[in-house]
Amino acid sequence: MTAQTAITHPALEVRDLALEYRIGPDWKSALRDINFTVERGESFGLVGESGCGKSTVAMAIMHYLPRNGRVTQGSIRLAGRDVTDLSPRELRDLRVNKISMVYQNPGTALNPSIRIGRQVEDVFELMGVPAREREGRVRQVLDKVQIADPIRVMRRYPHQLSGGMLQRVVIAMAIASRPALLILDEPTTGLDATVEAEVLDLVRDLRDEIGTSVLFISHSLAVIRKMCDRVAVLYAGRLMAVGPTEETFNNPSHPYTVGLLRCLPSPETGRRDETTLDTIPGFLPPLGAEITGCIYAERCGNVQDICREVEPELIPVPGDSVSRCHFWDRAQELPRTVPEAAPRRERSEETLLAITNASKTFVQDGAPVYALHDIDLEIRVGETVALVGESGSGKSTLAKVLLGIHAPDDGTVIALSGKGLSAKVAQRTQGEIGAIQMVFQNPDSALNRRHSVRRIIGRAVRLLRREGRKETDDRTKNLMREVRMGSQHLLAKPRQLSGGLKQRVAIARAFAGTPALVICDEPTSALDVSVQAAIINLLAELQAEENVSYLFISHDLNVVRYIADRVAVMYLGRLMEVGSSPRVFAGPHHPYTEALLSASPDLEEDTRIRLEGEIPAASNPPSGCVFQTRCPRKIGVICETVEPPLEEAEPGWFKRCHIPIEELRLLQGQPPAEVTADPATT
């Protein structure tokens, strides 16, 4: 790195980049007309839905395209050097010294058969660090990514470390050479919220410390917003808008950005009884689709004739931004796709389902795994109870116990409308089976890909209602209408449907038998942002129409805040906190809930509390309070020895914690008055 290049050139300059993939015999355009610059020291975000080409951009920059990909046009300059025409040796030199990358899935990014220490050491070896200094340097860099015990970690193999720890190692490798450009490709996707927060903090700290330029790729607007100075919005292989982050998100100049922002519930959005979520209609065009005019025209509420004929350039707009929209100035006047008025619904205090004293112990390799322990939860008629917690906390196990797929341990009592329910689905009556149904996370897995929509829904109707052929058929069509699908889809196979439509089919199936309770296991997390909102709206509408209750499992606290009436927080198979949604979000919180909430990227860093260590194994839970090993508010020996009960600290609000509520309030810096002022707490 010479002083000259350092001064005169931006860290990264992408000009007129176009790229194609060969699919079968044809070359299909994947990126076109990509232009952006990452200045030195700048953090630049690339945001977009899946399949829009974000990672392709990253791979093109790294000069590491798959065999069927080729750059057809444009240049990529890294600190002034065009990477598209480097010799292999120069390319390697570039990768060693100037550019590094952190990947989406840390679990597979490291060689499973080589020790961590050795893999990190490679980087120093390549940089030419003398052998005797390398170990020290490895230790240093692991220190830098806040790995507590570098020596121990160096001796480990990747499979022995958690995802968060691995991502730290990958980051350590990436920053070891203090590169000019650091590319982070969805670095926190797949990690739990608390871990994500730590990794993001770490990246921010490191960037400040070494002053490297960062290209941050993510589908999450919140993450990009938190991490980046400037942002580019990518859609179907084209840049839609580029500009400073604040400007782009607060004052969007492209209808797509506007639409995306409206889709997402946020703390500012009203709750589901107050407003619907807006949606983006239509679908992402397929790769290489030949579209004249604006590629977003099909889905744009502001579309005019010209949009379908002339593709707009990237037009400079106020606020140091550009926008690929003929009518950028009217972007924020985008009409709503769905009416704002929320469906009206009835709620009752009547208990629909109660599960008491529920435990579930699996046996794995001869050792017990305590997946659920001492769960008491009730769900009322017509309400939505959200179940939140990190992965492995037992949310899905609880769902499967309720459904009768997993038989709980003896002593567990499940009652539906006051009547005891058999532990196994096979022993339940037809009515009971129809009464509790499920919407799965991934519609691709939940729908038989060989069956038509008619068959998928019809079979459930037939078995759950046992009516004549005609009634079954009518009910099937009726369900299709209820999930806002036309009968033209009846004969379609799942692969002919988009993700959103598939999830609608899955929802229709769940409603086949007039259910009283539908368990929704992360029903939107496998879907693109623009589709999520529509599914959430649909669920809300169905609840209003059918007076059904939901058990809504989610890791997305904004969605939970929007849709849930009550929230149950789980950790290591136990309920830590249960209460009305406003009450739980408002606080004072159980320390674990507090940590979860503070992990949200929407929050500023100074209000964050951090969780230490890893989630303990369910086969060997900690003594006393199971959360004590990571609890930031731990008060002493009692936490290590006595497991606190789930107690009703306020009417309708339960917590499993030794710390008295007042003390929590103080610790969390909340005025005492707020709680009593909340009318929702009953």
């Binding site: 990768r95 597979t108 499973p112 058969s113 490679d122 980087v123 390549l126 193999y157 022995q160 390799d365």
Partner: protein
């Protein structure tokens, strides 16, 4: 933990072996019906049939026979061959040594060759050499040994006269003469194994080349040859080890045909003639030993695989 894994795997192998012994026992002692009659033929007197059954112990209840047989097997006594009037263990042992020579030669040829071929094909993926190795290897794999063997004999023994057409070297031949005799049958086996091992190697290498960690290594700036040697091969060759070991089973099956074709006194030929002569003790013992060897090699392969694979070796200790 490795210890528990080994124990568990060993236990599974034992269970499988026990089941195998039952299958073999049913196939060779119960299915033939009256063993004595089967051996002596229809014109033997009932007295001599009874006498033979008494001598072989085949007049006892099946359960007693089985426990007796398996008890003997555990202590290395598989009874006596009817045709050879020799202990089965001795006959099988000697045949195994011969077969081992042949198999060893075949392995020595095929393992390096096919792994090299597989790697080459993977690295030149889609090119001509890749097509040659994969399509050629597949073709060689599926052509029965007796076909390739015949063609080899025709070319190298009959036409060119370079190599002997039979596998049994004259008595007292030196090492090289023996190897010369074994070369054609070994090539036969090699042809069949080559394509298979090469394919698995190629698939493993390609998978490793496309793995995220290989991307990490390349983007770290590691030179290509280091990436291939250290990142790719290390992980790609693991499944190959398992495959090579699992080919033991094929090998013994293939040996029947090859040994018959090349008139070689190995385990395959022994089992073949035992089947032809209705020599049930020999057949039962031979098949049991073959099955045990197969299970043993699978066990070894699994252990080697897991020992080389830190994910299993260190499972649970992190």
């Amino acid at each position: 933990m490795m210890g528990r894994f080994v124990l568990r795997r060993f236990g599974l192998a034992l269970i499988t072996l026990a089941l195998l012994s039952v299958l073999v026992f049913i196939g060779t002692q119960l299915l033939p019906g009256d063993v004595g009659r089967r051996v002596l033929g229809p014109f033997a007197t009932q007295e001599s049939v009874d006498a033979l059954n008494a001598r072989l112990g085949t007049d006892r209840p099946p359960l007693v026979q089985y426990t007796d047989w398996i008890g003997g097997a555990v202590t290395g006594d598989l009874g006596d061959s009817i045709t050879f009037a020799r202990p089965v263990t001795e006959l099988v042992g000697r045949a195994l040594i011969n077969s081992a020579k042949l198999a060893a030669l075949a392995f020595v040829i095929v393992v390096p060759l096919s792994i090299w071929g597989g790697i080459l094909a993977a690295l030149r993926r889609g090119r001509l050499i890749d097509r040659l190795i994969t399509v050629g290897g597949l073709s060689a794999t599926v052509i029965p040994e007796f076909v390739s063997g015949i063609v080899l004999i025709l070319i190298f023994a009959v036409t060119l006269g370079w190599l002997p057409g039979t596998a049994s070297a004259p008595r007292g031949s030196g090492f090289f003469t023996q190897m010369r005799h074994l070369l054609l049958p070994a090539i036969c086996l090699t042809l069949v194994l080559f394509g298979y091992i090469a394919r698995i190697t190629r698939a493993g290498v390609i998978e490793a080349m496309e793995a995220d960690y290989t991307r990490t290594a390349i983007l770290k700036g590691l030179p290509r040859r280091v990436v291939i040697r250290r990142e790719v091969l290390r992980n790609a060759l693991l499944p190959t080890i398992a495959v090579v070991a699992s080919q033991m089973g094929y090998l013994i099956g293939g040996l029947v045909v090859v040994e018959v074709l090349f008139s070689y006194q190995g385990i395959g030929q022994l089992l073949y003639s035992a089947a032809q002569n209705a020599d049930f003790p020999l057949l039962a013992g031979g098949v049991l030993v073959v099955g045990a060897m197969f299970q043993g090699s699978m066990l070894l392969a699994d252990l080697a695989y897991s020992w080389l694979n830190p994910r299993i070796r260190l499972a649970g200790s992190g």
